[in-house]
């Protein structure tokens, strides 16, 4: 059953995933294993100690359901932190290395200058993604944990963490364009398949950034607001 509008906690988890395969990515990031049988979204989430509201908010955002400004006050910052952290691991530890491996294989001839230039570009791009994510892991996330614990000292605020995703996204886009416009050589299934992966990865990274910009940041703003009110 495919549906219009938001998924509800009482919908079956298997229905959600079967109808929206992109949700598979969300599953592993929340640490949810397959094999849902007839369990509802709520039951599965509880079993894996994931906040159901947060899960559904992330799903809605990925599926682009409903409106853009979800009610962030009902979200669990802990669950969202876990999601974002695992998402970083996924890109840096799995997805981007996978694309790199495939690229090396397709380009072949390691001593070719063009290959070197292309790999250099890709490595620079990955380095930028890594830096960006490391900043979040080392600065933003600890700050949010201190907010949760009520020990934030006010030396940082989420306003400092403003949107700097644009640049990283633009770089992958440029890489893709260069390959499409200028890559010489015969048409090959392998090269096209790598490009297909890059398009997909770009989409997933954009969704990830979207969740940071539209769920995570508003939630933290909300927490900061509450904290200043309590003082």
């Amino acid at each position: 059953m495919s549906r219009v509008g938001k998924y509800r906690a009482s919908d079956k988890m298997a229905d959600l995933v079967v109808n929206n395969y992109r949700i598979l990515l969300v599953m592993s990031r929340f640490g949810i294993a397959l094999g849902f049988a007839e369990d509802t979204i709520d039951e599965v989430c509880r079993k894996h100690c994931v906040d159901t509201n947060t899960f559904i908010a992330v799903v809605d955002m990925l599926l682009d359901n409903g409106i853009a400004e979800p009610d962030s006050s009902s979200l669990s910052p802990e669950s969202l932190l876990m999601y974002l952290h695992n998402s970083h691991d996924y890109f840096l530890g799995f997805r981007l290395p996978g694309i790199r491996r495939d690229l090396v294989e397709v380009l072949g001839k390691p001593h070719d200058n063009l290959t070197k230039a292309i790999m250099k570009y890709f490595d620079e791009y990955v380095e930028e993604v890594r830096k960006h994510m490391a900043y979040e892991e080392e600065t933003v996330f600890p700050y949010v944990r201190s907010l949760i614990a009520g020990t934030a000292d006010g030396s940082y605020n989420i306003g400092i963490f403003h949107k700097h995703h644009d640049q990283v996204e633009a770089k992958l886009k440029e890489f893709k364009q260069i390959l499409i416009k200028y890559y010489p050589g015969d048409s090959s299934n392998e090269m096209n398949s790598v490009l297909f992966d890059i398009f997909n990865c770009e989409y997933d990274l954009a969704s990830h950034n979207d969740i940071e910009d539209r769920l995570f940041t508003p939630l933290i703003l909300d927490m900061e607001h509450k904290m200043t009110q309590n003082k």
């Binding site: 063009l114 070197k116 230039a117 570009y121 620079e124 633009a170 440029e174 200028y182």
Partner: protein
């Protein structure tokens, strides 16, 4: 530049909102990051940190939240405001806007209005081919020379070098040195041994 245009759509009707989003997404030349809000409260909350370049708003929302106040919240004088008109209204209502979308506009009309509003000029540049001078500048950039060094070598002013580089970026849609390197190799602007001497050979 390649930064996407941030657009916020403030409209209470989901059908109209999503219809407009679909049209914006279909405009191939527009790189947009679209954000939707459904009421004046949400608009007020989101505008200060979303900082849209363009705000498309149903004027009926403005009875609660005047346009001047929105602009103040946005703290951005460059934000363009477009009225999204779904009903007949006195022209005084739309006068303070930069542009008006009617719900009867075609996708093409919306696209034209947006291009006009954003004063697009670099789009045309893409179809031009590179001049000889620009190719020389690329070669220098790829070799890792600074703007100053390029200016000295080609007997140009530093300012001219910057202009050349900007035009190159606009024509090729490549904005990084690493990207230009790939371009230069593929198009044989540089000899292989020159590249070897440059930073690419680690």
């Amino acid at each position: 530049m390649s930064r996407p245009v941030r657009i916020t759509i403030a409209e209470s009707s989901e059908i109209i909102r999503r219809g407009l989003v679909a049209i914006l997404k279909a405009i191939g030349t527009l790189q947009a990051e679209v954000n939707e809000v459904s009421d004046a409260d949400q608009l007020k909350n989101s505008i200060s940190w979303q900082r849209p370049d363009i705000l498309v708003v149903n004027p009926s929302m403005l009875s609660v939240l005047p346009l001047q106040q929105i602009k103040k919240e946005a703290a951005d004088t460059d934000m363009k405001c477009i009225a999204l008109q779904s009903s007949l209204a006195d022209s005084s209502v739309t006068r303070s806007f930069d542009e008006v979308f009617s719900i009867y506009d075609t996708g093409e009309q919306i696209s034209d209005k947006l291009s006009r509003l954003m004063g697009k000029t670099d789009v045309d540049k893409r179809h031009e081919s590179l001049s000889q001078r620009e190719k020389e500048v690329i070669v220098c950039v790829v070799k890792g020379m600074t703007n100053k060094q390029i200016a000295d070598k080609l007997c140009l002013s530093a300012h001219t070098v910057v202009t050349h580089r900007r035009n190159i970026s606009a024509k090729l849609d490549i904005h990084s040195t690493a990207g230009l390197t790939i371009y230069a190799i593929v198009n044989k602007l540089v000899e292989l041994d020159e590249i070897d001497r440059a930073e690419i050979s680690e």
